[in-house]
Amino acid sequence: MFGDLLLQTMAILIILLALMALGALLVDVFSDGFGRLSWAFLTSFPSRRASDAGIYPALIGTIFVIGLTALVAVPVGIASAIYLEEYGTGGRWSRLIEINIANLAGVPSIIYGLLGLGLFVRTLGFGRSVMAGSGTLALLVLPVVILSTREALRTVPFTIREASYALGATKWQTVWHQVLPVAMPGILTGLIFALSRAIGETAPLITIGALTYVPFAPDGVWSPFTVLPIQIFNWLSRPQAAFAQNASAGIIVLLLVLLGMNAVAITLRDRYRRFRG
């Protein structure tokens, strides 16, 4: 009894501590930046005058890059996970691949930046484009997508697969119609983690040569680009205090984009849950 109570109190205190740190951050950022948020701020281009500067190219750049990253990483990641989990033989090769993927998930992001610079920017000749940025971020989040998808697939009870086979379904029909829908909420949770990681990344994008001052929104996958974290970082390092306010406002925008993205994923997840209900 006493032990339970102690553990419970401690857990609550620790959660409060974590939430307080988050709360302090939010209060600080909002009190600094909320006044700067306006339609003009969202639709203006960067400027040397803090009051004229806006976040438009970085906002569109972020949405563009993350969207493209998801388009590349999600199908490849889910397909790889399905192969490893449902079709893989569990032999030596499979184990080798598994270990490598687990290791890749822990590689620091700047290493992916160097890989992206060598592979996409120079060897494949993508230049410092949206495509090179998305490719790099896709590689970065791919291990996370694969690992979380595999976890989700493993939670599907084996009896569902056996029932499906018993009714004469093929392996592919079983995976597509039975396993995937059940695993979907878990897969979507993994995607939230993966894309949330990608959206805040600065180092690999700086390494591949994402720019800081881009006075236009990207107009294609080969266009030069910048993203919100880079713009925020640049504003923070300026001497004028007004730029720090811009940075706070930029952080709020980044948080809103992140929340929006997660809201979409969570809505989808809940629909899957009800659907299976």
């Binding site: 969202l42 639709t43 281009f45 960067p46 400027s47 040397r48 438009y56 906002l59 569109i60 949405i63 563009f64 969207g67 493209l68 388009l71 494949l124 000749g125 993508f126 230049g127 410092r128 484009s129 495509m131 700086i206 040569g209 994402a210 720019l211 800081t212 001052y213 881009v214 006075p215 236009f216 107009d219 294609g220 996958v221 080969w222 266009s223 030069p224 640049n234 923070l236 390092s237 300026r238 001497p239 004028q240 205090a241 720090a244 984009v257 929006g260």
Partner: protein, 342 residues
């Protein structure tokens, strides 16, 4: 919300078209011929950003992009031909000249402004009003690490209090420059001080500690005058101003605030000037940057220097005006260099 929905729709469109025709397209910078790609020093970034902003206001359809890879990173891209202009807070090094030569990139070196470095202390510091370069060296050289820890070790009449040091991070041009002119060798410094690539951190450090001393870009002092106090610097050479001298527009530009003032540069790919938009942008840069430079907190070149830079650009003088083997060479003024026959 409208923007992001538009963005998504747009994205879908582009991706759809990209999938069908992606292979035939020429990727990279070549896809948008009007983009003027600039990269390099974060110190020079605010100047180039301001010039680019005004240039694009006056010339619609022109597209200038500016990155901040640092002076060294900028030259790497520049010498591969990936950018047409490189921002630099120091002159080009011998190894970088070689890299450019190997890729047959020839360049025009144009000084655009001065950047002063400020030595600062807490406003309540009453003793350290001036320092000599020798004293700065005694404090910052590698041998001082773990040894010079109190103010009275720098000058005997100063209090026997601990000194807390704040300085530039090791990847910045500010660090390279300060260590070279004070300690005599670039990147040679004591390591036991609070370092940051972000000068705003240094402002907070010095502004919150009575026994602190730090160095940073002059613009950061100008924006935080109430939180810090300047230390006058005496280089011991009466030929460029007697005694300790405080940094100001006049002393930085006039060459008397030595050695902590430096010119900053842009390097232009000479072959790229055949693109009319690049030529126009650089002309605009050397013609009308002065007011913008003052506005973003730097010191513009003197009129006579500005004129010499214009002539240098008009004549498309190739190569560097520095002897790469000689380091920063603070004994010669920029004007003398610009006038030197080649």
């Amino acid at each position: 919300m409208k923007v992001s929905i538009g963005g998504w729709a747009f994205l879908a469109l582009v991706v759809a078209s990209g999938c069908s025709s992606g292979d035939q397209q020429t990727p990279g910078e070549g896809a948008a011929p009007s983009v003027i790609a600039v990269d390099g020093s974060s110190t020079v970034f605010p100047i180039t950003e301001a010039v680019a902003e005004e240039f694009q206001k006056q010339n619609h359809g022109m597209r200038v992009t500016v990155g901040v890879s640092g002076t060294g990173g900028g030259f790497q891209k520049f010498c591969r031909g990936e950018t047409v202009i490189s921002n630099a807070s120091r002159q080009i090094l011998a190894a970088e000249i070689e890299a450019c030569k190997a890729a047959s990139v020839s360049f025009i070196e144009l000084p655009v402004a001065y950047d002063g470095m400020a030595v600062v202390v807490h406003p309540s510091n009453t003793w350290a009003t001036s320092m000599t370069v020798v004293e700065l060296k005694r404090l910052w050289e590698p041998a001082a690490q773990g040894k010079v820890l109190r103010w009275n070790q720098v000058r005997a009449t100063w209090p026997a209090q601990e000194i807390h040091l704040f300085g530039a991070g090791v990847d910045s041009g500010t660090f390279d420059y300060f260590t070279e002119v004070i300690n005599g060798k670039a990147k040679s410094s004591r390591g036991d001080y609070t370092s940051s690539e972000d000068d705003n951190i240094l402002v907070q450090g010095v502004g919150g500690d009575q026994f602190a001393l730090g160095y940073m870009g002059l613009a950061y002092y100008e924006e935080n005058k109430t939180r810090m106090k300047l230390v006058a610097v005496d280089d011991g050479n009466p030929n460029n101003g007697q005694g300790p001298i405080l940094p100001s527009i006049e002393t930085v530009r006039g060459g008397t605030y030595r050695p902590l003032s430096r010119p900053v540069f842009i390097y232009v790919n000479a072959a790229a000037l055949e693109r009319p938009e690049v030529n126009e942008f650089v002309s605009y840069y050397v013609e009308s940057a002065s007011d913008l430079i003052r506005e973003v907190g730097y010191v513009p070149l003197a009129d006579v220097e500005q004129e010499l830079v214009r002539q240098r650009f008009a004549a498309k003088t190739l190569g560097t005006m520095f002897d790469p083997a000689m380091g920063m060479q603070t004994e010669q003024t920029l004007e003398q260099r610009l006038r030197a026959p080649r």
